[in-house]
């Protein structure tokens, strides 16, 4: 069991005196991120909904990036991956990342293709 904890987050920008302090610090950070997400979701600034990057609204990109940030801190600090050996950490993190990226790529492309078939084909489905 890893008893010693690494007590810094944001690459050493923020150092905590004890593990308990770090936990509360991470909670504050996660709450702020969630609050930003909800606020953006309610306001929906035009700047972010009108502009697209890689076929997706900037707003949605921000949501996804913030989600990954939250996931990182949950896994690293709550599930204390930060304190585990790097070999264990890599085995756990990169395996799903690789498989899921592949799945996302292949399924979303296929879905977009079907969307175009529905749209341009002679088949009517919206009546």
């Amino acid at each position: 069991m890893a008893h010693e904890h690494k007590l810094e987050i944001f690459r050493g920008l923020l150092k905590f005196k004890s593990n308990i302090q770090k936990i509360w610090g991470v909670l504050v950070f996660l709450s702020i991120v969630t609050a930003i997400e909800v606020a953006l979701g309610i306001i929906k600034p035009e700047l972010l909904t009108k502009n697209y990057f890689l076929g997706m609204k900037l707003l949605n990109w921000i949501f996804i990036i913030l989600t990954l940030v939250k996931a990182y801190y949950i896994a690293w600090d709550f599930m204390h991956l930060r304190d585990e050996k790097s070999s264990l950490r890599r085995a756990i993190v990169w395996t799903p990342i690789f498989l899921v990226s592949y799945l996302i790529f292949i399924l979303l492309f296929e879905a977009d293709y079907i969307y175009n078939v529905f749209k341009d084909g002679f088949l009517a489905w919206d009546f």
Binding site: L27, G41, K85
Partner: protein
């Protein structure tokens, strides 16, 4: 671990007793389970993405669907789900605090924090049940066309959604629900919606300020509202009155939307529920002093991993179901 049989070959690399990953057997197995479960959830979420990309122009807008907060009337998009997210993160925090207290062998503190974790989990499951009930009940009602599309109604003056009861007329002798007292041979029929298609149609014709909202999303990112003529033309295809949601049809739009809602949040809710059950078991074990006698609180750490994983999944479900 203490129970490992000592064979006297520990010096040998292949003699056993090595821990190349620095984690005990139980913890490793919990991690492997979490990875495989994460892939299951990813499969669900990606298939949700598949269906959504397939019907990208007609998919329901989540913050128009989930607008309710218990005990309050009105339109509060997202607030309650955000609250649920916060509750789950909070119970994750108390779980880490329990694990931390366990490392320091402080039984009383572990009991206290485990208790808070269980309470948080219970609040979350309860909220989810409420959310399901609200979703199934529905609020405005809609018309389904022959092609299986959903037509919703808006008030032309205020731009707000109009419920079927706001404008539908009641035609006597239209709706007869078959009751057991009316026949010797009683077959339970399907429950009738509050209004029949004809009643909605007549009501619509009689109230000129009601317009139809289709599923199609326009350039503004909002659902398209038809004008009066188009609305009347569209209603010629009406075939069913839909209120609320089930696995076959729902008043919010695409049928797949409700299916995925039930499936993904249901599967997640089941995880939370089983997490609460496991937490309760561990909670009582801590009270009984099982881990004091064992000399370490690794069990708390292992269920902690599972509990954080449930939180982690919710973060993704929240984003992909409610935000994006």
């Amino acid at each position: 671990m203490d129970t490992t049989v000592t064979t006297g070959t520990e010096d040998n690399v292949w003699g056993g007793g090595n821990r190349p990953l620095g984690a005990s057997y139980g913890k490793l197995m919990m991690w492997f389970f979490i990875v495989s479960d994460a892939l299951t959830f990813s499969g669900f979420l990606v298939s949700y993405g598949f269906s959504r990309f397939k019907f990208i122009e007609t998919w329901p807008i989540a913050d128009e669907v989930f607008t309710h907060v218990p005990f309050f009337h009105g339109n509060y998009p997202m607030y309650y789900v955000a609250f649920m997210t916060f509750i789950l993160i909070m119970s994750s925090v108390t779980m880490v605090l329990a694990v931390d207290a366990g490392h320091k062998m402080m039984q009383k503190k572990v009991i206290f924090y485990m208790f808070l974790t269980v309470i948080g989990g219970a609040i979350f499951v309860g909220s989810q049940a409420w959310e399901w009930a609200t979703f199934i009940k529905g609020d405005y009602g809609a018309i389904e066309t022959k092609g299986g599309r959903i037509l919703q109604f808006v008030d032309a003056e205020t731009g707000k959604r109009a419920a079927l009861s706001d404008f539908s007329t009641t035609i006597s002798s239209e709706r007869v629900e078959h009751e057991s007292k009316n026949g010797v041979w009683y077959y339970e029929g399907k429950p009738l919606p509050s209004y029949s298609v004809n009643e909605v149609l007549e009501g619509f014709k009689a109230s000129p300020n009601i317009l139809i909202r289709t599923e199609t999303i326009n350039d503004e990112g909002e659902k398209t509202i038809l004008n009066r003529q188009e609305s009347l033309a569209k209603l010629k295809d009406a075939s069913l009155v839909v209120e609320g949601a089930n696995l076959v049809r729902n008043e919010y739009g695409s049928r797949l939307f409700a299916d995925f809602f039930f499936f993904i949040t249901g599967f997640h809710g089941f995880h939370v529920f089983s997490g609460v059950v496991i937490n309760v078991i561990i909670f009582f074990n801590v009270i009984l002093g099982t881990y004091e006698r064992r000399g370490h609180y690794e069990m708390v750490e292992k269920v902690g991993l599972y509990w954080h994983f449930v939180d982690l999944v919710w973060v993704f479900v929240f984003t992909f179901f409610y935000l994006v």
